[in-house]
Symmetry: C2
Subunit: 295 residues, 2 copies
């Protein structure tokens, strides 16, 4: 099989897999009100690239983790991601109406229900995290919490909000994005890496270096796509950052330099994987996917 | 020392203790934006009865748990409670301006920051949960998540929202409150009970029976106080349920019967503690405090 095709098959299998785990995790909660569960399912299921779960499964392969041990963390990081989108799209935040090619959660279910669906999804993420057959160490819970909290995703969002219309230096922008999107991407990878055999000397640091570079590369490409993409290709509102007067890698570096920066981060990510040899194949492919994507 | 005084001293010591744990947990996160941390601290510190932490410490005493092992769960349940208040008070939910005698979080910090502060607090709750010296079992994480999620607190909120202005039967009201406030109170007690020696036969079921009855008693008293209390005594807007046309124990049962119901639930709670003997002293006192409180 051609390598690209082999990757596509691998990715599709895992996307289908995590979709089933998410579907199962978000069904049949005794007494949970139907409308809330519907809003949660709407926010999570039937869309999205599932990049974070794919990274978790791929990192799991480095440590010979069986996919069913990675299922819990994979679903958990996707739920945190989905909850953050539902909350970001609310009128008091980015006030957006289109997400994954569909009306945003609050457009479909009302603001209060979208808020609660996001809240509940964050809780369910932690339930999913510890739902695997093989229990993860307590630091897995702390890792997801830190990635989602004030020094992670929520903190990055807050910095983003506080800088609308204000100039930002490259170091500040980088630090914001390390928190806003980088922290959860990093957690996806490191949690996957906790699902198998113990790390050998230096492996965790190498994986972390990969995770940091890949997370930032994702955001730089996101900023480029916000300028170059269309609503249709992205499934969300294009040109949103510029319209909201937000600093991005494109506004700070200019478009050509932003593209070069993404490429440099990809190279940095791949260099960090060298010690893992062939076992890192899927992570290498995912780094390419992240930097070459058009949506 | 008079028993009431001994309880007051015990409670004050634990309130001070959890305040310190919360203060420490919500300070000094590398890179976390100051404004967000300020909003989180505003939502959590310097107010509140700390009933959930007190219940956790008291339940810990049943199983000879050292207070420093209970600190993590105690702070965790309070953070979940505080986040839920910050979100409930938002304009798209209850739209309230007064909480714990102060302007609500979004009045003080703006809607977006209050939303993010709540989001971050929920994440930090899970970090706090696993922060104790002695690691809790993975089911502790699942228990807090279930209590906060769609079949717990968030689900109860959603049912509440969906029933504004609609009649409710006593069983429906009870089921809503078991989720909305009961689930987190129950988790506070059961998590405290996970912090020490293993349960002996029947003990966990007894503690759970106590937790369920005490959680419901709290809500019935809350509904009574909403009618009988003033803004000043409650530190929040009184008469809010009636103004929002929400079904409560008072609207469903009438005031005298609601008070009798609270008393019956207190008796049920105390009966469940009999097997624990004198070790349950603080839980007995807390059940009395819950049902006799005026704020």
């Amino acid at each position: 099989m051609h390598p690209d095709l082999a990757f596509a098959v691998w990715a599709q299998e895992r996307q289908r897999r995590v979709e089933e785990v998410l579907d199962r995790s978000l069904g049949g909660h005794d007494g949970a009100p139907g409308k809330l569960v519907e809003a949660m399912r709407y926010a999570v299921l039937g869309g999205g690239k599932r990049m974070r779960p794919l990274l978790a499964y791929a990192a799991g392969e480095l440590v010979d983790a069986s996919p069913d041990v990675v299922d819990g963390p994979a679903a958990a990081v996707e739920m945190v991601h989905a909850y953050s989108l539902a909350h970001d799209d609310l009128p008091c935040m980015d006030d957006d109406v289109l997400r994954r090619g569909k009306p945003t959660c609050h457009v479909a279910f009302g603001e209060a229900m979208a808020l609660l669906a996001g809240d509940a999804l964050q809780a369910h993420a932690f339930a999913a995290l510890v739902s695997s057959r093989v229990p993860l160490p307590a630091r897995a819970c702390a890792m997801l919490a830190d990635a989602a909290g004030a020094a992670g995703m929520a903190g990055g969002q807050a910095i983003d909000l506080l800088h609308v219309g204000k100039p930002m230096t490259l170091p500040d922008l980088t630090s914001m994005h390390r928190m806003k999107t980088g922290a959860l991407i990093r957690a996806s990878i490191l949690l996957g890496g906790m699902c198998g055999r113990s790390f050998r000397a230096g492996e965790e640091a190498s994986l972390d270096a990969f995770a940091r570079a890949a997370g930032l590369a994702f955001q730089v490409v996101d900023d480029v796509l916000d300028v170059e993409g269309s609503d249709d290709s992205l499934g969300k509102t294009a040109g949103k950052d510029a319209a909201q007067n937000k600093p991005t890698y494109v506004t700070v570096l200019g478009l050509p330099e932003a593209k070069r920066h993404a490429q440099a981060l990809r190279d940095e990510a791949l260099a960090a994987l060298v010690p893992f040899g062939a076992r890192a194949r899927r992570l290498v492919e995912l780094a390419d996917w992240i930097t070459q994507r058009t949506s």
